[in-house]
């Protein structure tokens, strides 16, 4: 991949920053990098620091090494949160991807009313999140909720949704899929739009079938868009907080709700909450590395 660069590697930093074109490149990335690092650096490192100490919301105590992390792994709420988050992330992202891809492919065709369909499918994404979770909760509620009513009448379930952990998790997955499939669809659609028609023409002329065209041409060309969409959705789902908190009224635990309780509500679990933040950071990092290395997402363009 980086054969031409290998030679330059030997010559070191002076070469790198001396080259005017490269310097321009560094200037161009500087503002974005600067904003992100300046704002994020202090909170993240402070959180890391706190996670290794005894601390409550007002004071920092002694260095305690990995003790907070051990406590964290022994905490049943944390483990619940981890389990729920993993299940939620895998299932939601999977469905959002499949349905999003289908929608993008469908909308990519010209048909009557396409503009309106495009607007309609964006409604869930445009809907204010604060209201969304509350309204869905209302729809799941046992007395006045339309979904609870419909599901019970149809005999699908007999328990009140809001009392049952499993049903709550399923509900959360449904709501999140509803809300963020448009995000996937939009990104994949944009990816589809950059594939010129002639490529398909040429393939069709060569006698390729629909499936062949899809798997050999469309999917590979869509890979960058798909991977960005899936990576970011996965990271967002992994850090889910508002949806679980507002919809389940803090009964459904996720990794981030555990952090929230520790860092914002509790006075004493502060250090463990920070340990959980660091845990989320490290594991999310690992997930991203997985996407980048294993799934072959390219971060540089030396072609």
């Amino acid at each position: 991949m980086t054969t031409p660069v290998k030679q330059k590697k030997r010559s070191g930093l002076k070469e790198e920053f001396g080259n005017p074109e490269r310097r321009t490149a560094y200037y161009m990335i500087l503002p974005a990098l600067f904003i992100i690092l300046v704002v994020a650096f202090y909170p993240i490192t402070y959180s890391l620091y706190l996670s290794f100490h005894q601390a409550n919301i007002n004071a920092v105590g002694n260095f305690v090494g990995l003790q907070n992390y051990i406590l964290m792994f022994q905490n049943t709420e944390f483990l619940d949160g981890l389990r729920n988050t993993l299940i939620f992330t895998v299932i939601s992202v999977f469905f959002e991807f499949i349905i999003g891809l289908a929608i993008a492919l469908a909308i990519n065709r010209a048909f009557r009313g396409r503009g309106l369909v495009r607007a309609a499918i964006l409604v869930p994404w445009a809907f204010p999140t604060v209201i969304s979770a509350v309204m869905w909760r209302l729809m799941f509620q046992d007395q006045v909720g339309i979904i609870q009513y419909a599901a019970t009448s149809l005999g699908v379930i007999s328990d009140p949704i809001l009392s049952n952990q499993t049903l709550l998790l399923i509900g959360a997955i449904l709501v999140d899929t509803w809300k963020t499939t448009p995000f996937m669809a939009l990104l994949i659609l944009a990816g589809l739009q950059t594939i010129p028609g002639e490529v398909y023409e040429a393939a069709r002329v060569d006698g390729a079938s629909v499936w062949q065209r899809f798997f050999r041409i469309t999917l590979p060309l869509l890979k960058p868009a798909i991977l960005v969409a899936v990576l970011f959705r996965t990271l967002d789902a992994y850090r889910i907080y508002d949806l679980f908190w507002a919809m389940s009224n803090r009964e459904l635990e996720s990794l981030s709700t555990f952090v929230y309780k520790g860092v914002r509500i509790s006075q004493l679990n502060f250090a463990v909450g920070n340990a959980a933040s660091v845990f989320i950071f490290i594991t999310a990092f690992a997930i991203a590395i997985f996407f980048i290395k294993v799934l072959g997402m390219q971060t540089s363009t030396e072609e």
Binding site: N58, Q143, V144, P160, S163, N249, Q267
Partner: protein, 460 residues
């Protein structure tokens, strides 16, 4: 693989691209930059004048409280400003409606070094937490022993920490038993139940004969309101969570407390309350009762006014009455959970501002203003004398109907670590109500975690 299309086509495309770009891009680009620039300039202007309202010396101070649809709060502030014009000026800052978020906000400000809020209209569970960290001012010498006698005892207790008083009660709230007196009378019951067993019997009878859907609804969800309800059951059986004489001693693992939790669980087990009561907050309780679907409801005084509102209620005030919460044993004193709001002063504000803030407290807790807020906004006064005032009794029927309940309100455990304790209590009460654990297990677990919290708190 990237293929290249060679020759004339390439430069044709390039020219086309440049032409398009030349027409469209430049304008767009310019607009973007111009927009960003203008916005940036505007922001700098706003940045200059926004923010930081409080304590500007000269008797100005900031007073924070949640949204008040009744309008009486703004009126109160205006009255103060008029009366003390030239001397003091209060400016009202609206905080989130959700009390947990409000607390979060205030605490974040304190952590950041004091913040801008000088006078805080705070929830009854905040004083100990803030006092322990030195965030709020000790008011013991301003709010003297003598002054305190004029107020209801429960609220004063909630403001007391380590023998000192850190807040002044503003308006109060207490858990009440609402009941459908028409349904009770239909079934031959002339008086409201005094014990939980009586309540269950009455509920069952009415449910069977009149077909009412729910016997009893209350707040069982895992949140602060659920903690109040759970604690009420414990108190009603003679138990306690923290020893009131020695707040560092946890006594929740006792036969009385377990009995209380068992009674709460039995409401669902015996079919008096729906299983989903474990997800109910005040809103859901209110819905069930106002729809006429419940015989009994445990809720706060605010509900009474809503009964008369045809837009929200399918029942009428004639059908409804209130009573103190039942107890476990015949003849015991009923204890309703204490709610309500108090005034607290920021310890980090400068002395003049604190003085101005205390002046507002004196103003707002005077008989005249307490009466105004009671009559116009239905806020229950914290002054004892007003509970005998006929005008007020007429305006707020709940006071006339259940004076005992309001006077015998008992606070939740007072502790500097209340936030952590509340999380634990909420969880265990909810688990016990749900049937996930037995009341004995819940009490035992809670004993352990609360003791752990106190130990941890004393260590750091």
């Amino acid at each position: 693989m990237v293929e290249r299309i060679e020759g004339p086509k390439e430069s044709a495309v390039l020219s086309e691209a440049l032409a398009f770009a030349g027409r469209g891009m430049n304008r767009r680009d310019f607009l973007k930059l111009a927009g960003a620039g203008a916005a940036g300039a505007a922001l700098l202007g706003v940045a200059g004048c926004g923010g930081g309202g409080g304590g500007g010396g000269g008797g100005e101070f900031t007073f924070s409280f949640g949204p008040d649809p009744s309008g009486t709060l703004q009126e109160l502030v205006d009255r103060f400003n008029t009366e003390y014009e030239g001397q003091y000026t209060a400016s009202l800052r609206e905080m989130p409606a959700d009390t947990g978020q409000y607390f979060d906000q205030v605490r974040t400000e304190f952590q950041a070094g004091g913040g801008d809020i000088d006078l805080i209209g705070g929830d009854v569970i905040w004083p100990a937490q803030f006092a322990a960290n030195g965030y709020i001012l000790d008011l013991s010498d301003r709010f003297t022993e003598e002054d305190r006698q004029a107020f209801l005892p429960g609220p004063v207790e909630s403001n007391t920490y380590e023998g000192k008083v850190f807040g002044v009660p503003w308006f109060t709230d207490a858990g009440l038993l609402y009941y459908r007196q028409d349904l009770l009378e239909e079934n031959g019951f002339s008086k409201p139940p005094r014990t939980w067993d009586e309540l269950k019997e009455m509920a069952r009878t009415v449910q069977q004969s009149s077909g009412t859907q729910y016997g009893f609804v209350f707040q069982g969800a895992d949140y602060e309101g659920g903690v109040v309800n759970g604690v009420e059951y414990i108190y009603s059986a003679g138990g306690e969570v923290l020893d009131s004489n020695s707040p560092d001693t946890v006594v929740v693992d006792s036969p009385e407390a377990i009995e209380g939790l068992t009674i709460q669980r039995s409401m669902v087990e015996d079919g008096i309350a729906p299983q989903s009561v474990a997800t109910y907050k005040e809103q859901e309780t209110q819905t069930a009762f106002l729809n006429g679907d419940a015989v009994f409801a445990r809720n706060w005084p605010y509900l009474y006014a809503l009964v008369a509102d045809p837009e929200q209620s399918q029942i009428t005030p004639e059908q409804v009455s209130v009573a103190p919460l039942p107890t476990a044993n015949e003849g015991d004193q009923s204890a309703s959970g204490l709610g309500g709001w108090n005034f607290m002063i920021n310890a980090a504000s400068d002395p003049e501002t604190q003085e101005a803030a205390y002046e507002f407290i004196r103003f707002a807790t005077s008989e005249e203003q307490q009466r105004f807020r009671a009559l116009e906004g239905s806020f229950l006064p914290a002054l004892q004398s007003l509970y005998e005032d006929q005008e007020i009794l007429d305006a707020i029927p709940v006071i006339a109907l259940a004076p005992e309940a309001l006077r015998n309100s008992k606070p939740r455990p007072v502790s500097p670590f209340y936030s952590d304790m509340s999380l634990e209590m909420g969880e265990q009460f909810n688990a016990s109500l749900n049937g996930e654990v037995s009341p004995e297990e819940a009490a035992r677990t809670l004993q352990g975690s609360l003791e752990g919290i106190i130990q941890q708190g004393q260590a750091v």
